[in-house]
Amino acid sequence: MQGYPYDTEEANEDRQRWTALIGGDRNALGALFDAYARQLLVYGYRICGDKTMARDAIQDVFVNLWLYRASLAPEVRVKFYLYKSLRRALLKQMAATRPTGTDEWENLAEAQPSPEAEWVVSETESQRSHRLLQSLSVLSDREREVISLKYFSDLKIREIAALLELREQTVSNTLQNALNKLRKHLVLGFLFCQVLFEKIF
C-alpha cells in the first residue's frame, strides 16, 4: 500500500524545495524550515527531554544543510533525511554531554520524570491529557517513540526502522504491541473516547 496521491503531492513539493536548495536558494531552506521545524522540535525534545538541546541540534541540521548543499544527494525523501540528521546530531550531542555512553543515558532517563509528564503538568486544565498520560504510562519508551513517529510524524514503518536502526519486523511488532496495550486500556475509557469524538467532529 504505497503511493497514494496525498503522499506524492507532499513529496513533490519537498523535491522542488530540495532541488532549489541545492541550487542555492535561501528561500527554499526557509520553506523547508517552516514545513518541518515544529515536528522536528517535538521529536528532538522527545529524544533528549531538553528543549535547548533540541533547538541547538535543529539549528545545526539546517545550517549544515545550507553549508553542504553542494554535496547533497538530489534524490532523497526529504522528511526522512531531516529526521535522520536530527537524530544523529542529537545522539552526538548527548554522547558529548554524557561521557558514559548511551546505556547510561537510558537509565538516567528512567529516573527523571518523562517529558510527557512535564508537558501535561504544564497544561493545567487539560483533563484529556491527564487521561492520555495514564494510557501512555502503560507503554515503554520505545513504544511511545514508534507511536509518535507513526502517527504524529507520519513516517512509514520502513522509515521508522531505518531511523531507529531496527528491523522492519521489530518496528511492526512494537507498534502492534503498543496499539494492543492502548486498546485494552481504552476499553475502560470508552466514554472518554466519545467525548473526544465529539470534540473532533
Binding site: 522540535l41 491529557s129 509518535s148 514503518i157 507498534l175 469524538f197
Partner: protein, 364 residues
C-alpha cells in the same frame, strides 16, 4: 485488498491507507472504506476500534511550541549561516582598479554619515536595547512584518497586539522583580495585574512603566514616539534621565503620569502630555480595543475578539453562540477575557493548533 478481512484493530490502525482515511476527508478513501464496510459488516466493530486507536494516537500530548519560538530559531539558523558562509566576492572585483578606489571612498563617506547620524540618536535604538538585554535574559523576538495585527502572549499572561512592521523582544521567563520588554514599532498592551512585578516597555528613548493596565506604544524609528493609555495608570520617562533609575527600582510611579484616555508624546528630547484632540493618535485602537458588553450574544463578542487580536475562535454557534453576556472586559489580557467569557456561558476553552476552541453545553 482481501487481506483486510484478516485484520485485527491493531492491523487496521497501523495501515497507512486506513490512517489516511481517519485523518483526512479524502473522498476516494471515504468511498472505499464505506463500501468495504457494507460488504463486510461483521468487521465494523474492529474498524471502529481501530478508528479510535488512530484518533487517540494523534492526540498524544506534545510539548507546547509557540510560533515565536520557531521564528526565533529560524532567525538564529540564518544568522549562523551568515556567519559561517564565506563572504561573497565583492562587486568591485570585476571593475577596473581606479573604479574600485572610487567605490571604496564613496562607501566610506556614506558609512561616516550613517555613523554620525546613529550617534545623535544616543544609544537607545532597538537593536542596542535588545543587545544589552540579551546579556541579562534569554530573549524571544517576535516580528510582525506582514499581518495587520499579531497577538503575542507573554509568559505572565499579558497580551500584546503587535502592529504591522513592529518587533517585540521579551524574556523566555520574566525575572523575580520586574517584567521588561523591548519594542520597536507599535503595539497595544494589556497587562496582567501584578503589583509585585512592575511591567516596563523599553521603546527607543522612553520607558513606560505600569502595574497592570492597557495602553498603546507607538515607537517606529524616525517617527514621533507616542504612548496612549486605555485603562489604568502608567508612567512614562526618558531612558537616560534621572527618573529612569528611581522608577526602575521602586513600585511607585515616577516620570509623567498618564491615566485613562491620556497620551504622552516624546518631542524635542522631552516627554509632554498631549491632549486627546491635539493628536490624531490611533483612533483605531480607541474604537477597537474597547470591550464593554450588555446582554450581547457571546458569538458577536468572539467575532470582535477575532478581529482585534487576529485570532480564530472555534465554537458551536447553535449551542453557545447566542448566549447573552454582560461584561466589562476592556484592559484585560486576552486569556483573562476568554476565562471570564467562558465562565459567563458555562464553557471552557483550550488552545489547539493556534486556534481557540470553546466548548460548552450552552447557557440554558
Amino acid at each position: 485488498m482481501s487481506d483486510y478481512l484478516t485484520y485485527e484493530p491493531e492491523d487496521f490502525a497501523s495501515d497507512d491507507f486506513f490512517i489516511h482515511w481517519v485523518k483526512s476527508t479524502d473522498i476516494a478513501a471515504e468511498t472505499f472504506w464505506q463500501n468495504w464496510l457494507e460488504t463486510y459488516p461483521f468487521k465494523r466493530p474492529a474498524v471502529e476500534a481501530a478508528r479510535q486507536l488512530a484518533l487517540i494516537t494523534q492526540n498524544l500530548p506534545e510539548p507546547h511550541i509557540t510560533e515565536a519560538e520557531l521564528d526565533a530559531l529560524k532567525e538564529s539558523v540564518f544568522n549562523e549561516i551568515d556567519r559561517a558562509e564565506p563572504v561573497r566576492r565583492p562587486i568591485w572585483h570585476y571593475l577596473p582598479k581606479w573604479a574600485a578606489a572610487a567605490c571604496i571612498s564613496a562607501l566610506l563617506l556614506a558609512a561616516g554619515w550613517f555613523i554620525t547620524r546613529e550617534n545623535r540618536q544616543a544609544d537607545a535604538s532597538y537593536p542596542q536595547l535588545v543587545a544589552r538585554a540579551a546579556e541579562k535574559y534569554d530573549l524571544i523576538e517576535v516580528k510582525n512584518l506582514t499581518r495587520a495585527v499579531r497577538l503575542v502572549n507573554l509568559p505572565d499572561g499579558s497580551s500584546v497586539i503587535l502592529k504591522k512592521g513592529s518587533m517585540l523582544s521579551y524574556p523566555t521567563a520574566f525575572d523575580k522583580a520586574s517584567r521588561e520588554v523591548y519594542l520597536t514599532g507599535e503595539a497595544f498592551f494589556e497587562i496582567a495585574r501584578n503589583p509585585e512585578k512592575p511591567f516596563f516597555v523599553h521603546a527607543n528613548q522612553i520607558i513606560t512603566k505600569v502595574l497592570g493596565t492597557s495602553f498603546n506604544v507607538h515607537a517606529y524609528p524616525h517617527e514621533q514616539i507616542r504612548v496612549s493609555v486605555k485603562t489604568g495608570l502608567v508612567s512614562v520617562y526618558k531612558a537616560s534621565g534621572d527618573d529612569a533609575k528611581a522608577a526602575q527600582s521602586g513600585h511607585s510611579l515616577k516620570g509623567l503620569l498618564l491615566s485613562a484616555n491620556q497620551q504622552a508624546i516624546y518631542a524635542g528630547d522631552r516627554i509632554v502630555r498631549a491632549s486627546a484632540t491635539q493628536e490624531a493618535v490611533s483612533p483605531v485602537n480607541e474604537a477597537v480595543m474597547t470591550f464593554e458588553y450588555e446582554e450581547r450574544p457571546v458569538g458577536e463578542i468572539f467575532a470582535e475578539l477575532e478581529k482585534a487580536y487576529g485570532i480564530t475562535v472555534v465554537y458551536d454557534t447553535t449551542v453557545i453562540g447566542k448566549c447573552p453576556v454582560t461584561a466589562s472586559l476592556t484592559g484585560e489580557p486576552l486569556n483573562e477575557k476568554l476565562k471570564l467569557l467562558c465562565k459567563a456561558v458555562r464553557a471552557s476553552y483550550e488552545t489547539v493548533g493556534g486556534k481557540i476552541v470553546v466548548s460548552g453545553k450552552g447557557c440554558e
